[in-house]
Symmetry: C2
Subunit: 209 residues, 2 copies
DNA sequence: ACACCTAACTAACGCCTGTTAGGGTAATAA
DNA sequence: TTATTACCCTAACAGGCGTTAGTTAGGTGT
């Protein structure tokens, strides 16, 4: 019979993918194909179950995509905050900013289908789902604003930078990476270094030195 | 023959929106709602005709969206090239780059539903449609690479910048603006100045001077 | 042995989709 | 006048969608 799959997962029932399994697969498909192209039947098939069975775990497609979006922000938020707090207490401003940029980019590219799915499909989901995701987003944005404000206060950044604009520009730039990044052409870490170099020092050849 | 025909049709025919009218409306709807949410019936209704009638002008939905994507790149390409060639011949490198950034951002925000639709929906359309748009994109990318290479050669830019990466970063940053830009909070021109300031000089407070 | 819970199944519902075939009508060209 | 062209309409098709109701099988606790 079909018991070969049963032995693989022995802690729970024979092949149960469960709520988390469905969510993982949904996040991957959303990241790969966008929101509109991923039907519940596609998710179900990838999970090895039937479409109707999804409704045991979720009340609607919106509920699935909302869960994916929220998890996406939470992951990148935790990654970014941990990367900053893990630094030595005497780390200078530049080091802190570089760590934050690196953590965001890694969450996008290396760590999480949830985070990359969030960036890719946020603009495609129904308004109500976007709205439900807003509080989580706002919390992450506040983390960045707090960090950037600190860097401005301690003199690391120029005094005329607009925190909100800078944050939108930074995150926008990092997120845009998803549209073209190819791991065969370079690592996420190397790219994050390039990003930081440009943002911190600019691309203009300087007369001084 | 064909000339007064065109005039009379425009003035007297009862409702004829024509191919261009359908395309304009499609571009606007794609920009506002994304690819998947815009059906042929929605486009038809906004144009004041019935869904089946669209097939008089276009062979398929893919053909419509492909036309929108191509026009979007062509517009921003022309805008950017014109902005650069309109400069005085003795304009310095920094001025040229600022003009190019400004032109791209204006095409995105102020000028064309086609360009903003392109940026918004490119990642949502079928692979075949994306592929059809690639040559047009490549031509625009080549325009940027040529400009940036020139700036590197004449010493405006640092000698260690990677042209391709810089171009991807620049266009990615500019395009990401669409996700949050609100004309009530500032003009596209003012924003393009901020962008140029950051890219050219960085955000770090400098010790010198 | 019993009931209970979990996690799946089947089958269908109404709706929307892109697309097609065939028909109509007003304006122009011969 | 007649023929032609440009533009749009109606009506339907097959297929995919999210969703629901009712059912079934295995694991667990008593």
């Amino acid at each position: 019979m079909a018991q070969n799959t049963a032995i693989k997962v022995n802690e729970t029932s024979r092949s149960a993918v469960g709520r988390d399994g469905v969510l993982d697969i949904a996040a991957r498909l959303f990241r790969e194909q966008g929101y509109g192209s991923v039907s519940l039947r596609k998710i179900a098939e990838a999970a090895g179950i039937k479409a109707g069975s999804i409704y045991y775990h979720f009340g609607s497609k919106d509920e699935i995509v909302a869960a994916v979006l929220d998890a996406g922000i939470r992951v990148v938020h935790e990654n970014m905050r941990d990367a900053v707090t893990d630094l030595r207490a005497d780390a200078d401003g530049e080091t802190v900013l570089r760590a934050a940029i690196r953590a965001h980019l890694r969450a996008l590219i290396d760590v999480s289908d949830y985070t990359s799915a969030n960036v890719r499909i946020f603009g495609q989901v129904p308004q109500s789902v976007r709205d439900a995701n807003l509080p989580t987003r706002r919390a992450y944005e506040a983390e960045w604003d707090s960090l950037l404000s600190q860097l401005k206060k301690d003199g690391t950044l120029k005094q005329d930078v607009d925190i909100r604009r800078l944050r939108l520009m930074l995150i926008g730039t990092l997120n845009a990476t998803l549209d073209w990044f190819d791991p065969d052409r370079g690592s996420a870490d190397a790219l994050s270094r390039t990003y930081a170099d440009v943002f911190l020092n600019g691309i203009l050849q300087r007369q001084d030195t």
